[in-house]
């Protein structure tokens, strides 16, 4: 069995090419002048510059978190370029977009243009530090939806941005959120007005292209009373033998009866089999269920990055609000993942579900870290958590660190976790029915992840299934 598994994992990274586009890059290093420069480049209002500088000054007083179960050399924050934008300045229409750039996204299989029409998905594309294009903007505007880059939103809808930015993840929330708040360059902004059901899935593709640059995007999604939206996010990066930092902040706000579904397929470059290169993915994602009966659902498929440090969370403030977290995290070679969620129950009758599936192969280390907190006023709160791990090979690690804190006796909290491997008897069963080992392994893994894949929108589910197959190619044996 070990050779089959071995063959299954050593698939090369397909998105590792570099696009040769002239880009405008800020000098390396971080200081107030760089922040002023970023702000000036983006013609930002004074309050936003103040927001950045305040975050930066707070960041200077903070230290890097030591508690995650990951090991990496100290990051030199002065060796990173905090702004990289494709040149020449981009035009409004898709036809005027640098053809080199379009080819890049062709290669990545990002649906734009007519392909976007076929897929029925509105796409915002972020290349290094700037949003390069957004499709379907007009069609969405007809129903009152604002979807586009956060830079445009700052310019066109400053009051909305100012009202919500930092309201879920405060500028000084944690080390990387503070860094992001100081230097964030672009990201997506999405506003669904009262009572509107978003007619199509919204999607953002993130691409890091420049070496020695970091990507610090900031996404803000607001669903007003009764609004519904499904948002997808995909990420890739070229192969470099140096590590790149990705420190994003995502904030979701759901008002009364609103419903936000946020899906991610994260496939940043993970480094080679010796752990050289790869993205450090240090991301803060948090949703606030502010209104009654609101719902926020996170689904993530984490297959890339050298290190993943990410806890998409829900603050369940409104009565009867619902938080969900569905996750598949796959680590191979020398990858390290410390990921999970936080469900903070504050309001009455709030409910949350956590389904986490971790798969470790090679020499990787995969940790689930979660918090379920029931506050003293969360009468009738309910949580169910299930965290399963699968180990492929004897050199990897799988860890589970669930924190459960309950301060209300009417709450009901359940947590369960199991660890398993692909059993010889399972493989034998498949083989006796004429299914080759490799296919059997991929079927078993897909079965293991089924509860999560079911939550993904169709196109993403197909992509995720393929991705897992590729990533694991050669690791089962």
């Amino acid at each position: 069995m070990s050779t089959v598994l071995d063959n299954l994992v050593s698939q090369p990274y397909k998105h590792g090419f570099v696009t040769d586009i002239e880009s405008e890059t800020a000098p390396k290093g971080l200081n107030e002048d760089i922040i002023r420069m970023i702000s000036a480049k983006k013609h930002e209002p004074e309050w936003l510059l103040e927001f950045r500088l305040k975050a930066y000054r707070h960041w200077l007083t903070m230290t890097e978190p030591q508690w995650p179960n990951v090991r990496y050399p100290k990051i030199d924050f002065q060796a990173i370029s905090y702004y990289a934008a494709p040149k020449p300045k981009l035009k409004k229409s898709m036809d005027e977009v640098d053809p080199e750039l379009l080819r890049t996204f062709e290669k990545l299989g990002v649906p734009m243009h007519e392909r976007a029409a076929l897929a029925g998905v509105a796409v915002d594309v972020i290349f290094d530090s700037v949003s390069v294009t957004t499709t379907y903007k007009e069609k969405l505007a007809e129903v009152g939806i604002i979807f586009g880059s956060i830079s445009d939103a700052v310019r066109d809808h400053p009051d909305l941005v100012r009202q919500y930015m930092g309201s879920v993840v405060p500028a000084g929330d944690n080390y990387y959120a503070a860094l992001n708040s100081a230097v964030f360059t672009d990201g997506s902004f999405c506003f669904i007005p009262k009572g509107v059901k978003c007619p199509m899935d919204l999607s953002t593709y993130f691409r890091i292209n420049t070496q020695d640059s970091g990507q610090f995007e900031r996404t803000l999604i607001i669903a007003e009373e009764g609004a519904t939206v499904s948002y997808l996010e995909g990420c890739t990066a070229p192969k470099f033998d140096t590590n790149q930092l990705h420190a994003a902040v995502v904030e979701l706000v759901a008002l009364d009866d609103a419903d936000i579904k946020y899906s991610t397929v994260q496939n940043w470059y993970a480094g080679d089999e010796h752990g050289v290169g790869g993205i450090y993915n240090f991301v803060t994602k948090r949703g606030l269920c502010k209104g009654r009966n609101s719902k926020i659902s996170w689904t993530q498929v984490e297959t890339g990055s050298a290190i993943t440090w990410k806890y998409p969370s829900c603050i369940l403030l409104g009565e009867n609000s619902i938080g969900e977290f569905y996750s598949v995290a796959l680590t191979n070679h020398r990858q390290q993942a410390d990921t999970g969620t936080k469900m903070i129950h504050i309001g009455k009758n709030t409910r949350s579900t956590i389904i986490s599936k971790g798969i470790s192969a090679g020499h990787s280390n995969n940790s689930y870290r979660g918090l379920v907190k029931i506050g003293p006023r969360a009468e009738g709160a309910r949580n169910f958590s299930q965290c399963d791990s699968m180990l492929i090979g004897a050199k990897c690690g799988a860890n589970t660190f669930p924190y459960i804190q309950v301060q209300n006796p009417t709450a009901k909290v359940e947590h369960e976790a199991t660890t398993s491997k692909i059993g010889e008897d399972q493989l034998f069963y498949f083989q006796s029915r004429g299914i080759p080992t490799e296919e059997a392994v991929s079927m078993i893994i897909n079965g293991f992840c089924k509860d999560v894949f079911q939550q993904l929108p169709m196109e993403f589910a197909v992509e995720a299934t393929k991705l897992l197959g590729l990533k694991l190619e050669g690791s089962v044996g």
Binding site: W67, I374, P376, S389, L391, I392, G393, A394, K395, C396, G397, A398, N399, T400, F401, P402, Y403, I404, Q405, V406, Q407, N408, P409, T410, A411, K412, V413, E414, H415, E416, A417, T418, T419, S420, K421
Partner: protein, 435 residues
């Protein structure tokens, strides 16, 4: 030995340590000196330390505790209620000091020894040296270091090769005095193929604040079996901090039962290291608390070798403004294949102000293993209550019965009937009083 603690509170705790007389063994004096040095360098842990995140020791540091030099007068009648009738031997310590008049050192079968550590050092010195203050080294643990620095009145229990004793050995630690600090120490060595059962029992005759800082070290040799029962029923104002370190050799069996009823603040650390293949551990725990009590249990099951198994079940019943903490880690090292380890943390909240923080942890570095853990927090099941009420039981009685049943599941597994009866009575009394 000079006292130069970097932390003033640690200095106050260490004040009496210079008065501890020299031990019969030079190596032990050296270990005590090293422990004193370690304690001097350490500070009282705070909630900023991950290991103490939910247990705030500030109330402890507001009080001053002095070591005891002579035992208070306690009569046999005072402790009659704690008698375990099945016990083959009973060693009684009052304020940490052995009282022969209250102890019963009946005729133990050949190969079974239960004596004072000072006596054990004379007869079994070579056997004790590799274990004492080694199994629980207290590298960075203040309380283990303090205990070793004060190591004087300890117990040594030895089961020689293939020796067997069905009846339990009862170690009764009685606290009587305000503002005292006691440092009980137990060393249990079960040699190959032996079988025995030890009860560590902590009780109080008053309701004054005092500190019990206890350390137990246990080595279970191949094919040996040890049943280890720890009952903590300290006084309501007491502080109890216990560390227990266990190593299991090939095919050893270790059955632990920990019962936590008392103390204003208690911490129970249990570390089991499976150093031989095929060892089995069963770890049961129950904490029943109310008022403003805090009960913290930390366990570590370290599967270092293949084919080991462990079954752990920890329950808490929390009433009043009580606060229960559980942190259970199952660690499967690289190469520890075919490990089968399961852990359950079940918590029952009885009142609005009760609080539970539970963290079952799995860290697994081997692929061919079966590991599972589960945790639940909730109140009594409405359907169960309805069932009992539909059979004519009043609400209050139905509640008590269900609460009792929740705890009895753990208590009933203790293989000492008279102790089970005592514990069940106190569970009943506590649930009647609304915990």
């Amino acid at each position: 030995m000079t006292v130069t603690a970097s932390h003033p509170y640690v200095a106050s705790l260490l004040a009496g340590s210079t008065a501890v007389p020299k031990s019969p063994a030079a190596w032990l004096d050296a270990r005590r000196a090293a422990a004193l040095e370690r304690a001097n360098a350490l500070a009282v842990p705070t909630t900023r330390d991950e290991e103490w995140r939910f247990t705030d020791l500030t109330p402890l540091t507001k009080l001053q505790f002095q070591p005891v030099t002579a035992a208070a007068a306690v009569s046999a009648a005072d402790i009659a209620m704690y008698a375990v009738t099945e016990a083959a031997a009973r060693l009684v310590f009052v304020d940490g000091i052995h009282v022969p008049a209250l102890s019963q050192r009946g005729a133990l079968p050949a190969g079974i020894t239960a004596e004072l550590l000072a006596d054990g050092l004379k007869t079994h010195g070579a056997l004790i040296e590799p274990h004492l203050a080694q199994l629980a080294s207290g590298e960075s643990d203040l309380f283990t270091s303090l205990n070793t620095a004060f190591l004087q009145h300890g117990v040594f229990i030895h089961a020689a090769k293939n020796a067997s004793l069905q009846a339990p050995i009862h170690l009764l630690f009685v606290a009587t005095r305000k503002d005292t600090a006691t440092y009980p120490r137990c060393l249990i060595i079960s040699e190959a193929g032996s079988k025995c059962c030890v009860i560590e029992d902590y009780v109080a005759l008053g309701d004054e604040p005092y500190l019990t800082n206890t350390v137990t070290e246990i080595a279970v040799a191949p094919n040996a079996a040890l049943c280890h029962i720890k009952v903590q029923r300290e006084g309501g104002q007491a502080f109890h901090i216990g560390n227990c370190a266990v190593t299991l050799a090939k095919d050893a069996r270790y059955l632990a039962h920990a019962v936590t009823f008392g103390a204003r603040l208690s911490r129970n650390n249990l570390t089991v290291i499976q150093q031989g293949e095929g060892a089995h551990a069963q770890i049961d725990g129950i904490a029943l608390i109310g008022g403003r009590q805090l009960a913290d249990t930390h366990t570590l099951m370290d599967h270092a070798r293949p084919n080991g198994s462990c079954e752990q079940s920890h329950k808490t019943i929390v009433g009043g403004a009580g606060h229960a903490v559980f942190n259970g880690k199952v660690f499967v090292r690289e190469g520890a294949q075919q490990t089968d380890s399961s852990q359950q943390s079940r918590n029952l909240l009885l009142s609005d102000k009760a609080r539970v923080d539970t963290k079952p942890q799995l860290e697994i570095f081997a692929d061919d293993v079966k590991c599972a853990h589960g945790a639940t927090v909730g109140q009594l099941d409405a359907e169960h209550l309805f069932y009992l009420k539909s059979r004519g039981l009043p609400e209050r009685q139905a509640r008590n019965l269900l609460t009792y049943a929740f705890g009895a599941e753990i208590i009933d597994r203790i293989p000492v009937p008279s102790l089970v009866a005592q514990l069940e009575r106190s569970v009943m009394a506590r649930t009647e009083a609304g915990a």
